[in-house]
Symmetry: C2
Subunit: 323 residues, 2 copies
C-alpha cells in the first residue's frame, strides 16, 4: 500500500499527498510503520524544494501574507505547498471558522497545496510530522514548501532547524506590543518583513522597517555575506512581495555557492535522528507503568524544592532501565 | 561522609566548598551517589542567592569585568561565588596560563569563591554540574552566584534557564564583529553591558550602548515592566559598575513582587528534572553495546540522505528498549 501511495503521490496528485500526510500524522502503530515505508520509498525524490519557515506574532497577518505571496509565486510558475504548524491548537470557534476561510483564493490555485495544522496535535511530534510532511510535498513535486508557525511557542526553534530560510513577519509594532512573540526569534530570522505597509499604516511600517534594519545590523549575521533584509510589505496591495521572492532566490544561491546548503541539510538530518531518538526514549519512559504511576508526585516534590532533581531523576531512571 | 562535608560546607569553609564541587563534577558512580546525598543534605539551605548568568563573545572582557564587579560587590558586603562554564575547554597553553592569573585580586578577597571550569568537561553534564554547584555555593552562604559562560555554544540557552538574571557583556562592536556570539542570545538578556567605555573607546562604547538600547526597544520584553537596561561600563576604571549592582537589586525586587521569582524557580526545577532524565536516557542509550556498535554508521547514512531518520531511530530504539 505504501508503494502505491508513493507512486500516486509522485504524479503530483494532491489527494494522495493529503492522504500521505494524514498517515504520517497518525500515532497508531500500524499507521506509523506504513508511514515509515512511505517515507523510505519517496526519500530519493526529496530534498529539492526551498523550505521556508514563516512565523510571526498573532495579528501580524501571516495567512493573508502567505496567500498574497503564494499567488505571486504561482504567477512566477512556482509549485507551492503550505504546511501550518500550531501545536497549541486550542482556539475558540471564531478562529476555527476563520481557518476555514483562510487563503481561499490560494487554495483554489492548481499549483498549490495547503495543509492546515492537525487539530489537537501534541507538541512532541510536531517536528517529526512537519519534517515528514515536507519530504512528502517534495516527492509530489512542489518546489517551494512554506511551514507556517504561530511564533509564540517552543516550535519556532525546532522549525527554524527544519527549514532553509526563516522568515519573520511582524506587524508595524515593537517591544511591548510583541508580547506574543518568543524571545530570541527575531535574531533567528534570515528575512524580516513588516506587514501592513498600506493606507494609514504605511509610514508606520516604513519607519518600523528602518528601525529593525538598524537593530539587525547589531546582531551576528545569519550567514556570512548575508545582511538580513528588512522589508515593508503589504499583503493587501502586494507591495514588496516581488522583492521577497527575489530575496528567497538570492538566499538559496548564497546557501548553495557557500556550501552551506549541503552542510545544513546533513546537520538537519543528524539533528532529526537525535530528536527522534530523544522523543522515542521519553515516550517509552513516560509510558512505562512504573514511571507513569509516580511521575506527577515526583514533579510536584521537585517543583516545591522538597527533593532534588538529580536524586529523583536517578531513581526513576533506575526503575526504567533495570526492568 | 556526605553529612560531614555538608556540615563543614555550611560554615562557609571554602575548601569544603571546593571539595564538594569536585565531587559533583565527578562521573564515577560512587562519587555520583555521594554527590546526590550531599545535595539532598544541603537542599533546605539553598535557593536564597541571586543567580546571575554572565556571557559574551571572546574579547568582551568578561574576566576583567567580573573581577571589577566582584570587588565592588565585596565593598557592598556581598558574598560572591563565581562559577565558570566552558564546555569546549580545548584551549592552547597560553589561555590556560592566562586562566591561572585571571581575577587575581578578586580571588584573594575573603568573601569570594572562584571556581574555574573543569578541564575537558563533556557538554552533556554542564547543566547538571552547574546547577548543583550553584546549590552548594548557596548552602555555603554565598548571596550572589555568578555563572560565566563563553557566549558561543549550546550552553547559553541552558545557562539562561539556570539563573535569575542573564547579563550580556559586549565589546563596543556589532554585527560581523560578533561572529563568536550565538544567534538569539542578545534577545535573552535581562541586562546588556557595553564594556571598554574608557580611553579611546569611550565614545564608541557610548554610541554602541545607545544603539543597542534603541534596538532592544523593538524586541519583546524579558519581564513585564522591565525595559532591558543597556549600560556602557568600564572594567578598567569601574565606571558604570555601581549601576549594574543597582540593576541586579531592582530586577530581583521586580521578580519577587511580580511572583515571577517563585514561578521561575519551580519551572527551573521541573526543567532540571526532565533535563536529567533526558541526559540519563541518552547516556544509557549511547552506552548500550548494541547501539554503540551501529551508531556511527547510521549517523553517516542519515546525514548522506540514504536512510530516513525516523526509520533508523525506530530501529535503534527497538534494539534498545526490547532488551
Amino acid at each position: 500500500m505504501a508503494d502505491d501511495l508513493a507512486a500516486t503521490l509522485r504524479t503530483g496528485d494532491r489527494r494522495a499527498l493529503a492522504r500521505a500526510i494524514t498517515l504520517v500524522e497518525s500515532t497508531r502503530a500500524d499507521h506509523r510503520a506504513e508511514a515509515e515505508r512511505l517515507i523510505a520509498a519517496v526519500l530519493p525524490h526529496t530534498g529539492g524544494a526551498t523550505r521556508l519557515g514563516i512565523t510571526g506574532p498573532p495579528g501580524a497577518g501571516k495567512s493573508t501574507f502567505i496567500e498574497r505571496f503564494g499567488l505571486d509565486g504561482v504567477e512566477r510558475g512556482k509549485k507551492l505547498a503550505v504546511l501550518a504548524v500550531d501545536p497549541a491548537s486550542k482556539r475558540g470557534g471564531g478562529a476555527i471558522l476563520g481557518d476555514k476561510t483562510r487563503m481561499m483564493e490560494l487554495s483554489r490555485a492548481e499549483a498549490v497545496f495547503i495543509r492546515p495544522s492537525p487539530a489537537g496535535a501534541a507538541t512532541g511530534g510536531v517536528a517529526r510530522r512537519t519534517r515528514e510532511a515536507i519530504l512528502l510535498c517534495e516527492a509530489a513535486g512542489f518546489d517551494t514548501v512554506i511551514v507556517e508557525t504561530v511564533g509564540a511557542g517552543q516550535s519556532e526553534t525546532s522549525v527554524a532547524e527544519l527549514v532553509d530560510m526563516f522568515v519573520l513577519l511582524l506587524p508595524p509594532a515593537a517591544g511591548d506590543e510583541l508580547q506574543g512573540l518568543k524571545r530570541g526569534v527575531i535574531e533567528l530570522a534570515d528575512l524580516v518583513l513588516i506587514n501592513k505597509a498600506d493606507g494609514e499604516l504605511l509610514d508606520h511600517a516604513n519607519r518600523a522597517a528602518a528601525d529593525y534594519a538598524n537593530a539587525l545590523r547589531l546582531v551576528p549575521p545569519s550567514l556570512r555575506g548575508w545582511q538580513v533584509p528588512v522589508r515593508a510589505v503589504s499583503a493587501l496591495t502586494g507591495a514588496g512581495v516581488d522583492a521577497v521572492w527575489e530575496d528567497v532566490a538570492r538566499f538559496r544561491v548564497l546557501l548553495e555557492t557557500s556550501g552551506e546548503w549541503v552542510r545544513r541539510r546533513a546537520l538537519q538530518a543528524r539533528a532529526a535522528l537525535w530528536a527522534e531518538i530523544g522523543d522515542g526514549l521519553r515516550e517509552a519512559f513516560r509510558a512505562a507503568p512504573e514511571i507513569a504511576a509516580r511521575l506527577a508526585g515526583i514533579e510536584r516534590e521537585v517543583m516545591s524544592g522538597a527533593r532534588t532533581s538529580a536524586e529523583e531523576a536517578r531513581e526513576l531512571l533506575r526503575l526504567f532501565l533495570v526492568r
